[in-house]
Each structure stands twice: as C-alpha cells, then as structure tokens.
Symmetry: C2
Subunit: 315 residues, 2 copies
C-alpha cells in the first residue's frame, strides 16, 4: 500500500495571467442601466473574475431585467436603483447621461459609506454637475468614459472584450480621494482598457471634436440627403458611395443617448461646430473662386492627420 | 506507328465562365493615366481576357511608365498621349478630371474613326464640357464613372477586382450613338460592375451629396482639429474615437484628384454644402435651446437611412 504515490491529474489549461490570479477588486458592483456598456462590464466581470465577487443589475423595465436573467450576466437583478446600490462598493451609472441627476437623487441616501460612484457617460462636466450634489460626504465620485462602443444597443449588444485595448478616460473632480481614483484605474485596466486621467472640461472639448461633432455631422447629412427631391434621394441610396456610406454607419446610433450627449456638452460642441462651420465656409469660398492651392492644402492636411493616427496605431 | 493515338495533356484548370469564353470587346484599349483606376482596368483586362486584345498605357512621366513595365500590366507603353491613342478602338481618360481638356486637345486629331472615348472621372458635366469640343465627328464620347476606389493611388494601388459588384454610371450626352453606349455598358459589366445610364447633371448632384460633400467635410474637420491649441490637438490624435477616425480614413485621399473634383463640380457641391450648412445651423440652434425632440428626430432619420442602405445591400 502506497500512501504517497505522486499523481498528476490534468484539470485543463490554466491561464496564469496576473489579472486572473488577482483577488476581485470589489465585493459588489451595481450597474445602473444595462445596455451595450453596462452589459459589457457585466460580461467582463463574469469572464475575467477579478472585477467583482457579485454583480447587481438595475434597469428601468422588468422586460430588460428578465432578458438580463436569461442571459445570465448578473448575479442579482433589482428594479429599484436604491435596492441595487444598497450593498455596493462600486456603483456604475450606465444610463444615458440625461438620466444621471434623477438616478443620483434616488440612490444618494442609500449608498454605502466608502462606496465609489462612477459612470460611463460621454460628457464629464455634466456628470459631475448632475451626480456630485446628491452624494453623501463619505462616498467618492470618479467619473469615467470608456471610449468604446458599436452602433448597437441593449443588453444583447454587449461583449466582454468591448474595452480591450481602448481608452477609458477618468475625470475626477479636484480633491477626489486618490485611492478611489487608483481603484477605478485598476478596474478599467482589468477590463482590458488603457486608462488616462484628465480634467473634465478638457475631456469635454476633446470628445466634442473627436466624437460629438462627427456624430452631429453624420446625423445632419443623412437628413440633408433625405430632404432631397424624390428622384435624387432614391439614387443617393442606390449609389451610396464610400463617404456617405461611412457617415450613415456613424449615424446609426442610439437616439436618446446622442440627444443627451449633445444637450450635455452644449458649449464645447457649439464651439467646435462654429470652428468647423467657419472652415467649411472658407472651403466653400475656395471652391467658388477656384482657389486650387487652398483646396489642395486642406486635402494634404487630412492625409497628414490620417498618417499621424496610423503612426499612433489609432487608425 | 500510331498517328492517331488520343492524348490528354493537363494544361491547368479552365474557368468556363460566360465572360471568359467571349471574344475581346476591343482590339486596342488606350489608358491615358495609369493610377489606381487605370491600372485596375489594365489588370482586369489581363485577368479576364475579354476586354481587349491589347492594352496601351500612357502616363505623364517615364518613371510611372517604367513601373508599369515592371508590373507587366500593359502590352505597350507610350509617353505621348497621341501615340497611345493612334491605334485604339477605345480610349479611357484616367487622369484627374482637371487634365481632361488638355488631354482631349492633344489626342483629338489622332483618334481613329469610329473610336469610343470614355473617362473614369467623378464629375460628368465638366467631362463633356472639356472633352467633346476636341473630338472629331466620327468619334463617340461615352463618359463613365466607376464608383470604386481606395485611399491609395498610383499604378501599384490597382487590382483586377476593384470594380466587382460596384456601380459604374455612364452619362452619354444626348444623341450619342447607341451602339457605343451598349459597348461601354458591356465593357464595365465584363469588369464585374453593375451599370446604370443617367443624365450628366443629375449624376453630378447625386455624387455631390454621396461622395463630394462627405469628402469636403472630412478634409475640413481634419483641418479644424489640426488648428486646435497644442494640448487638445495631441489628445485628439491620442483619443481619436470612432467618428473622427472614420473621417480621417475618408480624408486620406489624393489631393490633386480631389482638388479637381471640387473645382469641376462647383455648382452642385456648393448647393449641397449650402443645404447641409442650413441643416447644421438648425441642429446647432436645437442644441443651444435644448430642443430634445428635434435632435432625437434627426438621429432617428440617420438610423432610418442606414437601415434603407442595409436593405439595399449598399452598407
């Protein structure tokens, strides 16, 4: 009888990455809103196992929560936001930004001392304006903006790799607890994202030009085409070339989300639109008067910027 | 001694498509300009074998022609356009549209009676204006616009499948010989394209909104971003999101080609830009005054048009 026979049992391949061996960052994460971004965070938590021991999902309708149950991407579903946050160490607002004030008002009195409140909205000054006044003193606000997404929405649209290799920008207000900031940095890194911390106002200007203005333009040109006389409009669809076709892809986004973004980044968006409009008018003048050198120079600049993006591996 | 032994020699797989068994449509095709589009036609002629018995290439510089010789995509290279067209049944202008008048003037007296002259430019009223006056009576002008391309240029950028499944629009002036039109239809079908015949002025309005205006916008917004203060500009590159990133891809196009397109579709482009500018100003007003319903409606229209494109398989 041999008691000490060494034995080797093959239990499958274990991926020994640093992340998967780390202890979960939070006990309970509550997701208020579980669309494309919220459900991607939920799935990342499931797949990676290092974000949270428990994920609580909240949605406006029981239909959405039933779908979340079917998908099996959350541990608990709560229809009332105040119930969802009661036990949470980290609360992530994943609703359109226009709902932040009312959500913050509902959950404020129910937040656990020491909890971190964050969000995934595209406008950061408005997030601070709408959330901060409703939070108790002992709760930390670390607003965030994962720059990832697709043109699809709802809990079925999410996937666990959505944030992989993409930037998440954190915009904590002055005086925010450094440990809370460090924890949210780590959270997004564990989601696969690259993280940068910046001033909320600066953030809003940068995204106004890289994201909000391009979307405003794309929505608008679709309307301009749709207003053309019938015959032309039909042929616009039939012969949609590269250019217009790419714009329609950008334009196929969630109406409520984008309405809220435009209304909540008003000043930066209007400033960037005013600059852009001046520049299109200068281009129109060059076209009207045949200023070939001006036009060529502008096209050259487009190429140069494209090249800079390729060099930065952002293209 | 057996003289009549049957023998089977394997000479490779023969693709018995209808096209490849048809006789070549033209004896000699001359390509004036051999960049992305011209070299793609040359390659299609090589691969398909049913377009022309012989392809003659012309370019402005002997460096380009030497490259064409290295690539082996033409049967003959001629540095003088008049030599290139001397024996051609079909002459295809593949230069930027701004060069059409001077090319037509050079080749006009050297064209073979009964030859077809066509082009691949994106502006069709200007093509007729610039080419037709230089053609002898017994030569047929059938302007064409293959709606295909990439952001790359030059004879190395072409490929034989470029036109596969894409539209080519033909815009013959009133009174054009129907046989010449039928022959150019067949030519583009044999290149793999879908073909539609339309009025030149109507063509110019349709492409102004589906292609020229989106390019003007893309070039412009790159300049707007490039003019921002240093700190913001760097972050525009670093955090380039979907939207701006897509615009830079559109903007990475050939400067001379686009300069010529803008200058030669001036009226339609300025009209579409004026309509678009009115619409952006209406959107700006809605953003400034918080007109949520207006913004939502515009985003909905963008989605609707995207869906219409998907239904038409153009997306």
């Amino acid at each position: 009888m041999q008691l000490l026979t060494p034995s080797l049992i093959f239990v499958g391949y274990i991926h020994m990455s640093e992340l998967q061996t780390a202890a979960p960052l939070f006990n309970t994460v509550a997701l208020i809103g579980i669309g494309l971004i919220g459900s991607s965070i939920a799935r990342a938590a499931r797949v990676r196992g290092t974000l949270a021991c428990r994920v609580v999902a909240n949605a406006r309708t029981s239909a959405t929560l039933n779908r979340v149950r079917e998908l099996g991407i959350a541990d608990t579903c709560e229809l009332a936001p105040e119930d969802a946050v009661a036990d949470a160490d980290c609360v992530i607002l994943c609703t359109p930004v226009g709902a932040f004030a009312s959500v913050a008002e509902s959950i404020g009195p129910h937040l656990k001392p020491g909890a971190i409140v964050t969000d995934v909205g595209s406008t950061k000054q408005s997030a601070i304006r709408d959330i901060l006044p409703h939070l108790p003193e002992n709760v930390h606000l670390v607003p965030g903006h994962p720059m990832a997404g697709t043109e699809f929405s709802g809990p079925d649209a999410g996937f666990s790799d959505l944030f992989e290799g993409r930037w998440t920008l954190l915009t904590p207000p002055p005086g925010t607890n450094p440990e809370a900031i460090a924890k949210m940095k780590e959270f997004w890194k564990r989601c696969g994202a690259m993280v940068s911390v910046m001033d909320p106002g600066h953030h809003d200007r940068v995204v106004a030009i890289v994201s909000h203005l391009p979307h405003l333009i794309a929505f608008t040109i679709c309307g301009t085409a749709d207003d053309l006389a019938d015959e032309t409009r039909q042929e616009v669809l039939q012969f949609a070339a590269s250019g217009f076709r790419d714009f329609t892809r950008i334009a196929a986004s969630d109406p409520v989300m984008w309405r809220d973004i435009f209304l909540n980044n008003r000043d930066a968006l209007l400033e960037m639109l005013a600059r852009f409009t001046e520049d299109t008018q200068a281009m129109a003048r060059a076209v009207r008067w045949g200023d070939a050198a001006y036009i060529e120079d502008k096209v050259h600049r487009g190429r140069k910027i494209r090249q800079a993006l390729i060099d930065l591996k952002q293209a």
